[in-house]
């Protein structure tokens, strides 16, 4: 317990970081612990003031940087994010849940009450909102880091840039660019594999095409994606409207560009 007292009373002048979780899988905050080579360096440069997944020492705000994982799905969380925003000088959302509502936003097209009845025997015990929404729909966000999961090197770059007061070097172009750089043969053109690479933001390093499968959109829509053009290409490759719709509706389903693109064949 001495240590807690020590930390509470610490006069550290290092920037304070808080990590906050909403509805999510924990994977994006785990990226910080997965940065095995960088972790001890990072924690030497900043003070991890609030990170319950890693520490029981939970220091009160304000925080210089707040990293927010997860989407808003309950009334309680909709209130909690307001409080988190007030305590954080810079607020960064990490991952597809926080930036686009996550895979749990698939409920947004369904009757949530029916969903609850499917999963829980006593639905009245469960309190949840009808929509799963990204953080930016509730509070101003300073930077949104994409990915399901995020790329840990992009996270470290983002933290370093924020601390240095410079613009982070995080590209908004498509996965296709990464494929070209890796000299991958285009799997959509050469092998007819359905691929969301042309409309998906880079960041993963074009993993799926490098493993002989089509991109399935983990990093969400790139800047100005041409989803209409991709949709016609996917039809040429033999995909049904239902398959195309499912393709856009995964981990970034509620990002508006993908949301609109997923309404394929429904009068659009």
């Amino acid at each position: 317990m001495n240590s807690e007292t020590k930390r509470k009373g610490s006069k550290s002048t290092r920037p304070r970081i808080g990590v906050f979780k909403f509805a999510s899988c924990d994977g994006c905050q785990l990226s910080l612990l997965d940065a095995e080579d960088e972790l001890l360096g990072v924690v030497g440069a900043v003070e991890i003031a609030y990170f319950p997944e890693a520490s029981r020492a939970m220091l009160k705000g304000p925080y210089d940087i707040g990293l927010v994982e997860g989407s808003i799905t309950t009334h309680h969380d909709a209130e909690r994010i307001q409080e988190v925003r007030r305590k954080c000088k810079t607020l960064i959302t990490i991952g597809a849940c926080a930036t686009a509502g996550g895979v749990q936003a698939l409920r947004n097209w369904k009757d949530v009450d029916e969903f609850i009845r499917v999963v829980y025997a006593t639905p009245q015990f469960i309190s949840t909102l009808k929509l799963s929404t990204p953080i930016a729909e509730h509070v101003p966000v300073d930077f949104e880091l994409r990915g399901c999961p995020i790329n840990k090197y992009q996270l470290i770059e983002l933290i370093s840039a924020t601390l240095a007061g410079r613009k982070p070097n995080i590209p908004t172009y498509s996965v296709c660019m990464e494929c070209k750089r890796k000299a991958n043969v285009c799997i959509a053109v050469a092998r007819g594999i359905a691929c969301l690479g042309p409309v998906t933001q880079a960041g993963c390093g074009a993993l799926c095409p490098s493993y002989d499968r089509g991109c399935y959109g983990c990093y969400g829509p790139m800047e100005t994606p041409n989803t209409a053009s991709l949709t016609s290409q996917l039809r040429i490759l033999g995909q049904s409207d239902e398959q195309i719709s499912r393709g856009f509706r995964s981990f970034n389903a509620w990002a508006w560009q993908f949301r609109h693109a997923s309404e394929v064949g429904k009068g659009t």
Binding site: M1, S3, R7, K21, F22, A23, S24, C25, D26, G27, C28, Q29, L30, L33, D34, E36, D37, L40, V43, I48, P52, E53, A54, S55, R56, A57, M58, T73, T74, D77, G102, V103, Q104, L106, R107, K110, V112, F115, I116, V118, V119, Y120, A121, T122, F125, I126, T128, C148, P149, C204, L207, C208, Y211, D212, R213, Y216, C218, Q243, R246, S250
Partner: protein, 437 residues
Amino acid sequence: MSRRGTRTIKIDTLARVEGEGALYIKMAGDRVADVKLKIYEPPRMFEAFLRGRHCSEAPDITARICGICPIAYQMSALHAIERALGIQIDPAVRLLRRLFYCGEWIESHVLHVYMLHAPDFLGYQDVIEMAKDHRPLVEKALRLKKIGNRIIQLMGGREIHPISAAVGGFYKTPSRHQLRELRGDLEWALETSLETVRWTSSLPFPDFEQDYEFVALRHSGEYPLNEGRLVSNRGLDIDAAEYEDCFAELHVKHSNALHSVVRGRGSYLVGPLARFNLNFDKLPEVARKAAIDVGLRPPVKNVFRSIVVRAVELVFACREALGLIDQYEPPNTPRAEAPNRTGVGQAITEAPRGILYHRYALDERGLIVTAKIIPPTSQNQRRIEDDLREYAAYLYACPLEEATWKCEQAVRCYDPCISCATHFLKVVVEREPNSWS
């Protein structure tokens, strides 16, 4: 402290677990009146939105239930779907899946042993603080964790939500040469795991034994990962298809996760302790010897020793991975053809924290009609409450702050993944006078 005294322990957030929950313990004198492990992680309802998705999407969607053990979700989903579709996998694919799972066991066990649980035993708030006094130890742990992650990265592209697992096999399989490159690291990892067994066994453990029903997979030829019958020390011996006949899920008011019980009996324990106790004879010699050398023999009934058992399983996972790499011959095709057809399939695999059950019913287009997923933490939830009922009473004379920390530590013995069971733990221990009823 008088036996009739009133005291309340409150911790708003129990740390170093994956997900969000709270623990509430009410004491009436020296008697524990109520224990509730509250899971307030918001429900994400995967089973509902899996309906209507194609079965080939299930491994990628269910991986998103948990960032700590995505491979477990991929493995249970794949085996269940392959069973529904009647697909036989290539022996080389089977081998690769075991290797993939070893990577996850190493990464997840090292995270828990060194970064989440060890700080409790040594009195640190977290691993960062622990690193100030034990830097070489923490550096070693990070290197060990990285080796687990390296296996996953090589085979699946990235550590979290890897992308290569497919119905019938993999999208792409590694070459022999690529796997052989892991050998040097794994040999170091094996030695370090043996050190981990010795180091964890030297930690202080409370004298706290319980009479558990241990439930784990058992396979005739190997320590269980992907396959086996589900057995217990109380006579259970079933196929995955019989799981729902033998276990029931209860929905309780204080939790967003469902509680599992053995029908007609009650709570049970899944995870390292159960696997070790039921499969000690299947451990490789080096792991068995490491356990015996530190006085660990089945049945281990002290849940606090789970940390040592996890270290023994680290030895297993490193040894196993080395053996698999040496035997590996790439399959002719990375994956078997997956037809679309109606069917129902169930599978159980051993996630790092215990058994993970999946069931899917598919229609003629291969779309999911119904899905059922029972994660290890919801299976352990009732058992954690049962332990705390005994342990809180055992700690009656302990100063309040210390008792609270110890209760947290007891919960962490299970390495609960609340993200899986729906997610963060808040501990409240209330001690009231005998008048409470």
